[in-house]
């Protein structure tokens, strides 16, 4: 009886692993960006004249004001795409029925790739991450993303991103990401990310990474924009009052 059970369990585990090979590749888990040697930097972006001019203007204002933190970080915007796919921290992929969810520690918005949709839903609103649909072709996940709100740097509402994600023989996860945005790039621009599986207890869960807007930095940014003649939320009347008068006292002690 025992030997028959053993034979059956061996057969069962063979069947289970055979079944797994037929299913989609397992990319669930915690990953960390791990660019191959010599490919740490992506190829330079083929910027349109408009995009180049915008970059030059931003750099000029930053240099004039010793500004290190740009608008997106000053205002705690979502990292968006492709930004959230290149975090300096962990990035977790979760595979469940009909979707792949990507949690990137650098992003305050998770990303979902819908595997059960063939076309983009008309009800998808423009957003920071866009709307992603995908399907497996053999061992490669093909993803198509549209629906961007054009808020992040070098991302217009016309942005269209296509990706090829796959595991290589050594177990690295790859994402070949192509950005097609005629407003920002003169031709489709492809970047290639490679991730290594993160192991150990420290890598088991995404950690909380919270951006908190620093009012002083936000205020300074708006003031710089105004001084450069750009659209700004800087209010000189309030500024005069805020910097001259002490803040009103609380009616009761808060702590």
């Amino acid at each position: 009886m025992r030997s028959r059970l053993t034979a059956l369990s061996v057969l069962a585990s063979m069947l289970l692993s055979a079944g797994a090979a037929l299913a989609e590749p397992d990319i669930t888990g915690m990953w960390a960006l791990s660019q191959p040697e010599g490919q740490t930097h992506q190829p330079p972006a083929p910027l349109t004249p408009a995009a180049q001019a915008k970059a030059a203007q931003t750099n000029k204002i930053s240099a004039a004001n010793n500004r290190l933190i740009g608008e997106a970080h000053t205002k705690c915007w979502p990292a968006g795409m492709p930004g959230l796919m290149q975090p300096p921290f962990g990035i977790e992929f979760l595979q469940t029925k009909g979707r792949i969810t990507i949690l990137s520690e650098v992003s305050n918005l998770p990303r979902t790739i819908y595997l059960d949709e063939k076309t983009h839903s008309e009800s998808a609103l423009p957003g920071w991450n866009g709307h992603s649909i995908g399907h497996w072709e053999g061992n490669t996940l093909l993803v198509d993303t549209i629906g961007f709100n054009g808020r992040n740097n070098r991302v217009s509402e016309k942005m269209h991103i296509t990706e090829k994600m796959y595991l290589d023989k050594e177990g690295y996860l790859h994402d070949e990401l192509t950005m097609d945005d005629p407003v920002n790039f003169t031709k489709p621009y492809t970047v290639h990310y490679r991730y290594k599986k993160a192991v150990g207890v420290e890598a088991s869960e995404v950690m909380e990474y919270v951006c908190e807007v620093d009012p002083a930095n936000l205020f300074a940014f708006e003031q710089e924009q105004k001084a450069a003649g750009l659209a700004s939320d800087y209010d000189p009347a309030w500024s005069a009052q805020a910097f001259s008068a002490p803040a009103p006292k609380q009616t009761a002690s808060a702590k």
Binding site: L8, K97, T112, L125
Partner: protein, 244 residues
Amino acid sequence: MLRSLILAAPFGLALAAASAANAAPSPGITGLWLLDQRVYDSVYDQDDAIAPLSDAYKAKAEEIRKARVDGGAVLSDNGKKCLPIGMPGMVTNEFALEFLETPGKVTVISENSPITRTISLTRKTHDTELEPSWNGDSIGHWEGGTLVVETTNLNERIPHIPTAGGVSSLKTKITERYHLEDGGKLLVNRMTFENPEVLSRPWSLTFRYHRAEGDAQLWEYVCEVDAAGWSERYAGDPQFKPGK
């Protein structure tokens, strides 16, 4: 050979089921859920819905509440600064909630939270080296059909206890007991709050969520600090120090 393969298949599945004891009973909790309860003035529609504060904290909480109301506060300070809603808020608000079950964990995503929450099903003890956080450190396990989750290491930035505005404590522990009803269409969360300093006794609330339609998707819900209106919002803020 074929006959033994057919015999082995169901046995193989049985083996798989036995090793997956740390998993939800069918149909599982993966999916999008929507809170059933109504919320009025931050108080939930159920009995015993006000936190039983200890004597020491009752006076303090009332003082803070009065200062905010008298000061004309409408939005919470954290809300206007776009800070995380934290626990338990991220699972007790009326925005869509997504549970994702993958091996060894349950991931919780709320449209209303800029950070996700991971419940570890593999860790048996809390991580004592992490800094206190907005969602805390959650470890869980399945007891038959009930997912029991224990959350500690919550920070002092928000009360982490409903109706206990102004409370600041690192000692709060939240225990959730989730189970499915109505053929998997209803998710029930019995949530217990414990804090020997703040509460006069352990205190529980029950939350019910119904499963959203199969093709429902989370929307992007992004909080942006409003620069234009922030002059009013920060003017009386003791933490705001203008100038470079």
